[in-house]
Symmetry: C2
Subunit: 385 residues, 2 copies
């Protein structure tokens, strides 16, 4: 186990009927005016918007709204919200939505105090020193953003999809009410699970770790597999939803990273190029394709871990090999409706050059194998069909 520092100050408020408590929490913290940031309006359909507005009103909290944050959130919307937040002199950001809304809100919270373009934080030109307090109401569990300081945003002008992580952008408070997710499309349940499973796998397959965190990792992934299967059949199964939601939070709140080298993260790097080529491919779908291909490429370096994965997570009996574990993982992804090859999402052999060029910009990356251009090409080739 490596040395580590763990510090996660987010207050997590979890369970049914918690959305309506937002006004009370804000008031207790002395907040009188917020920027309410949300997406395309699904929170108006499922009643969350109404509950939030009522709670704010009841506690005398003023709001200004910025809506229209889209999946794969863009920098221009962040700029727009920063301008509103400054003009209206809000005291906090209240993000209501999924990962894209919360990630955008983190950039807005940090951008509020930064004189330059907050994109600087994504490209390493600005080290965040201050941010407005951020409150989040999560309506789609997947990325774990509700309990970490990370944000991923795309700069539409350059086509770059970058991230930052800062201790100043952990939400002060995050509310997760699993009942608000009953009406999510099945696709989002599937890709949310794969996203969270991939977060845990980035740490699980790291070259340094510990038996304790490995077991916790195994428990989180097993729970995600089991609950996804239940939710696809019974979307309103509360017990399955709560376990699913909490598992996605714990997947990336620092717990699974304890004592590791910080995770491998090659699969995430490789997936970003898929997004760049085909923005309509969900992040979770891209990960379902690329992670098993990466596993196949590095399998000789992590064969013991792959066997453990097969045994403890996939419940395979006898004759467990690294290859079989990877095959069974792909089978499961396929069984819940995720693509497992580039071809399935319309990416052809001729597109590989683009993917390789795009991904190589940040190469070398990865801790299991430090990937260079040739490695990257081979992984995309494995992922092809």
């Amino acid at each position: 186990m490596n040395n580590f520092v763990f510090h996660n100050p987010t207050k997590l408020v979890f369970g049914k009927g918690t959305v309506e408590k937002i006004g009370e929490y804000l008031k207790k913290d002395g907040i009188k005016k917020v920027l309410l940031l949300y997406g395309g309006g699904s929170i108006k359909k499922n009643g969350v918007y109404e509950k939030v507005v009522r709670s704010l009103t009841e506690h005398g909290i003023e709001k200004v709204e910025v809506s229209g944050v889209r999946p794969n959130p863009v920098l221009s919307k962040v700029h727009e919200a920063i301008e509103v937040a400054r003009k209206e002199q809000v005291q906090a950001i209240l993000a209501v939505g999924g990962g894209s809304v919360v990630d955008s809100a983190k950039a807005v919270a940090a951008g509020f105090y930064y004189e330059g373009d907050i994109w600087d934080a994504f490209i390493g030109k600005y080290n965040i020193k201050k941010a407005l307090p951020l409150y989040a109401i999560l309506t789609m569990s997947a990325t774990g953003t509700e309990m970490n300081g990370n944000a991923v945003v795309t700069n539409e002008k350059t086509g770059e999809k970058f991230y930052f992580g800062s201790k100043y952008t952990y939400p002060v408070l995050s509310i997760v009410d699993p009942t608000t997710q009953f009406s999510l499309p099945k696709e989002q349940v599937v890709y949310g699970a794969i996203d969270a499973i991939s977060h845990v796998m980035e740490y699980y397959f790291d070259t340094v770790g510990s038996s304790l965190i490995d077991r916790i990792d195994e428990g989180i992934i097993k729970t995600l597999i089991e609950t996804t299967e239940i939710i696809l059949k019974e979307p309103e199964n509360y017990e399955a939803r709560t376990n699913y939601c909490l598992a996605t939070t714990l997947a990336l709140n620092g717990l699974t990273g304890m004592g590791t080298n910080g995770g491998d993260w090659s699969s995430h790097e490789l997936e970003h190029s898929i997004s760049a080529l085909k923005p309509e491919v969900a992040h979770g779908a891209g990960l379902a394709i690329i992670f098993p291909a990466w596993l196949t490429y590095v399998k000789d370096k992590i064969s013991d871990k792959l066997i453990s994965f097969g045994k403890h997570i996939l419940n395979l009996k006898d004759e467990i090999t690294p290859e079989r574990t990877i095959k069974e993982l792909k089978n499961w992804y396929s069984s819940i409706g995720a693509p497992i090859s580039l071809k399935e999402v319309g990416i052809k052999k001729d597109d590989i050059d683009f993917l390789v060029e795009h991904a190589t910009k940040h190469a070398p990356f990865g801790t299991v194998i430090s990937l260079n251009k040739e490695d990257i090409r081979k992984i995309y080739e494995i992922a092809l069909e």
Copy 2:
């Protein structure tokens, strides 16, 4: 799963060579003068004291010392330290030692600002509203105090051993360097493990929980069993120590309690009476005796959970029954040198009246079965031999 709020602001600094960073952390937080609280001097033997003092000096941090905190820490020492802290106008408490030192430091930190007797916080007469910042260097892993707001102290005048829990007494920062524990007596390794296992079991056997946290619980207990066996043979096995130490921290930092009814805690209540009768019996030893007796008494209410415990934690195959799980747990406790009956620690049939009277003061307690005087008597009788 029940609704819950999780908020743990402690920064955990974990790994070898971290003790000497204390001065740097204090300086960064603007602390110029601390009360250094410690126990009977083992930190002088193992070199921790010297490292701490050197680090403080190097960073220009003044200290006043109060030493002599003993296992099962007492209120008079807390009073003494509060007086010194006030007189010397320290800005923070720095606790260096095991659970008893850190628990005492929490009472000192809260008592500093309270005009009455801080014992009021233990008996529910005072709800803590403020505390000095607390920094901890943990030199014996067991109670989990390094990452929660709880403190247990004994009032020598009344013989009462009570606890408080407050959000104001979470350590700001806790340093855990597993190498400082290489020289601990074997007994403390054994009782530390049993204490931490018991913390997890109080939640695991609660009537409400979740499959996710159950799996995490199982991973923590399995790790404690496995690493204790290794440490008893190889006290300087760093990998085993790190896993052991981190498992004891995670056992009681809020993670294992997520979504439960708050845990059963009957066994802890019943153990306090053993301490009251025989203060020389370590808390972990008392728990090794009483927890299996409680399990036996309530086994019909938690039979599925006991079977899961046998299967997933103790790795029992075929024909797993609640009774067999309890028996195997006792066997394991016995195998590492812990007592598993009251007789083994010199408590006889005639002493049971005292234990019953003492424990009944707080009855009824427990969530699995709400225990009254008769139940309590039966459990002590089961524990007798």
